[in-house]
Symmetry: C2
């Protein structure tokens, strides 16, 4: 049971974008330099966050990505499920209905109790992630961090001299 390695990338990129001034953007190339990530693959992954409404992509010479909603309105679950989908890791193939021990159909109208319990665990995981927003993550950062983040992120923009 593994989440894609890009889950870490997108959680961190979204946290970084959450520290920008209102309306400011960062490009995939900038974020790739910021975290030393493969730019083309990161760009593709950032698009999945756009599709999910977590980010907005703007075009043009100063185009890039910014948050699509307030940090308090974006949870870790939004980001993780944008990357990996919302399916439960447990797959029930109804083996209870196969083989010599197969249950009759009338006993299988209700979801198998094992599948129910596995789904409850997945819901517990989802609830835990849904309880944490990017706003909550920002609130844990020292007061000086966001301005440093902005300065460093500006330094990854090869088109604009930073000094």
């Amino acid at each position: 049971m593994k989440l894609p390695v890009s889950t870490e990338w997108l959680l961190h990129c979204a946290t970084t974008l959450a520290q920008l001034e209102a309306g400011a953007t960062a490009s995939a190339a900038q974020l790739a330099r910021y975290y030393d990530l493969p730019a083309a693959y990161l760009a593709k992954q950032l698009q999945t966050l756009v599709k999910a409404g977590v980010l907005v992509a703007t075009t043009g010479p100063r185009g890039g990505f910014r948050l699509g909603r307030q940090p308090s309105e974006i949870t870790l679950l939004h980001i993780v499920e944008a990357v990996d989908g919302a399916a439960s890791p447990y797959e029930c193939r109804e083996i209870r209905q196969h083989g010599q021990g197969a249950l009759p159909p009338e006993e299988c109208r209700r979801t198998c109790v094992i599948a129910v319990k596995m789904a409850e665990a997945h819901e517990a995981w989802r609830r835990s992630l849904a309880e944490v927003s990017l706003g909550d993550i920002l609130a844990t950062l020292s007061a000086s961090v966001p301005s440093r983040t902005r300065t460093r992120l500006a330094g990854t923009n090869l088109d604009q001299p930073t000094e």
Copy 2:
């Protein structure tokens, strides 16, 4: 994020073994016929439950598998982690320490808050599965089910005529 397909197999096989009379066993071949599963692969997977102490394997002409502890002492988490390991699905590769935005080491002594929140979600999932034992699953079955399970399972034993 996917659990192995054998997770369903082992949860059901353990539930079936939990319905046997004390001391009775079932072989991998029997369980494979009972659920129409590939016998060799199922046998291998059952061995992982033996290693985890969930099952005991007995040898000899009437050998097979039985529970290694009382049903109330075996949780869904024991079985799922025997199959898939206990690692969190989220992998933190410390990208915060890489690239042009790399944080200084003194700011990385504590676990990244994002990794902490992802670990908390995994713990919520684990807790949910640890709260459900095979005894709880058995308690949801109709009173007539265990004896039917035993009869059907006996019918999968090609060495012994069942009539």
